[in-house]
């Protein structure tokens, strides 16, 4: 009886999380992912649902965020942020925490990291080549960091906390997603999610996403949000891609998912949205995820 009650509550939360948001004038255009979805459903007697477009909404991405993605030397990149950090620039502090997060696995033990990359390659798992390539990419970009720089997991949280205190919304979102919110309480959590959604900041969407999946399942404060399932976690990440986050095949997002998480595409040319629709979402779940992303973007899907 208790198990059935839990199922009923979870089902209600899942259903409520699919309520569409406010309707805006913008319409979603369909893009290249359609081809991937069509291939996926070949042979089925049910027409494939159009997948969410990978085309980005036109918008301004801060130069320091673009530079983070392009830089081959993140040590030099972080040094270039120091003047802004000293001036209390919240976005610069947030980007420093992103460098810490990206490079931590390598920096705390460079020799061991390099050796383990070879071990992973020798394991000959299905994901071994991609995971080894991602780890090598991290090693190249973070090569000038040493253990004495203390890019430990604890320091990642310290840097995020400093950035949040300076006013960085992505840092605040990252802290909540990692279970260390700036403030406790359901009211704060609900307000933060609302602020992130209204900001249309791709980094904030991406930082919040891990906390909006199964981790928030059953939280009453999230019952009217896109939250509570693995699909909702991915929806926030897909929305971040649409808002301008670099989600390309060699992006820090794809590299981090693979090097740190073992979530690697076997196709080196595949970007994050394509990878998600290819590997994480069953064909019959595409409409569900599309509706979630539309809700987060405040858009209404036009059906052909």
């Amino acid at each position: 009886m208790i198990a059935l009650a839990i199922l009923a509550v979870a089902g209600t939360a899942w259903v409520r999380s699919h309520r569409p948001g406010s309707v805006a004038d913008g319409m979603v255009t369909l893009g290249a992912v359609d081809a991937a979805m069509a291939a996926h459903s070949r042979g089925s007697d049910v027409a494939p649902s159009p997948a969410i477009s990978v085309a980005r909404i036109a918008g301004h991405v801060a130069p320091i965020r673009v530079e983070f993605e392009r830089s081959d030397d993140l040590f030099a990149y972080m040094q270039s942020l120091e003047p802004a950090v000293r001036d209390g620039d919240a976005d610069a502090m947030w980007m420093v925490s992103r460098v810490y997060d990206y490079c931590s696995g390598y920096a705390v033990a460079p020799t061991a990291y390099t050796r383990d990359t070879q071990v992973i390659r020798d394991m000959a798992m299905r994901g071994s080549p991609a995971m080894a390539a991602a780890r090598e990419r991290v090693g190249r970009r973070c090569a000038r960091f040493v253990p004495q720089d203390d890019l430990s997991p604890r320091m990642i949280m310290v840097k995020r906390t400093e950035a949040a205190a300076a006013g960085s919304l992505p840092a605040e979102a990252a802290l909540m997603a990692s279970g260390q919110p700036v403030k406790e309480g359901d009211a704060y959590a609900s307000d933060l999610v609302q602020r992130v959604q209204e900001s249309k900041d791709p980094d904030a969407y991406s930082a919040l996403s891990p906390g909006m999946g199964i981790a928030s399942s059953g939280r009453v404060s999230m019952s009217d949000q896109v939250a509570g399932t693995q699909f909702s976690e991915l929806a926030w990440q897909l929305a971040a891609c649409r808002l301008g986050l670099d989600c390309g095949p060699q992006s820090s997002l794809m590299t981090s998912y693979c090097a740190n998480g073992g979530i690697c595409s076997t196709d080196p040319a595949q970007d994050f949205p394509s990878f998600v629709y290819d590997a994480a979402i069953p064909r019959q779940g595409v409409d569900v995820v599309n509706a979630m992303v539309d809700s987060l973007m405040g858009e209404k899907r036009k059906n052909k």
Binding site: A109, D116, R154, A177, A215, S217, E233
Partner: protein, 137 residues
């Protein structure tokens, strides 16, 4: 209200109990790092529950990554919010929670869940290639 006969009650509670048992057992992922997939990873080879939190977080994160990479369904394997029990080479173990699959700080040890190695456990794998950095800690 019509009272149920014993047989009906037994059938009803059998299915509830079966579902509850399945839910508990399905949630219990245990990763033993002495397995072939993990034993050569230097970042976990000398880790125990007495290692520093940073070492255990890094090790558990790497273990989770390899587990996902070999699963065939990486997105749905150990998603954020899930927990698993890691058994370190010396037999000690602890539960950790997945916070983020893409972050270097993506795993949190669950306080109070650490268990020392059983007294009769054999000593840790002497052939593992340990990092000098980790050994110095």
């Amino acid at each position: 209200m019509k009272s149920l006969k014993f047989g009906d009650k037994a059938r009803r509670y059998f299915w509830v109990l079966l579902f509850a048992t399945y839910s508990v057992s399905a949630a219990g992922v245990v990763i033993d790092v002495l397995g072939d997939e993990y034993r050569q990873l230097s970042q976990v080879a000398v880790t125990t529950v007495d290692s520093s939190e940073a070492v255990r977080m890094s090790g558990a994160s790497q273990v989770a990554a390899v587990y996902r990479a070999s699963s065939g369904a990486p997105f749905s394997t150990l998603p954020p919010g899930s927990t698993f029990r890691v058994v370190w080479p010396d037999g000690s173990s602890e539960y950790v929670m997945i916070v983020s699959p893409s972050s270097s700080a993506g795993v949190d040890p669950i306080p109070g869940s650490a268990q020392a190695a059983p007294a009769a456990e054999v000593a840790s794998d002497a052939t593992a290639d340990a990092s000098p950095g980790l050994g110095a800690r």
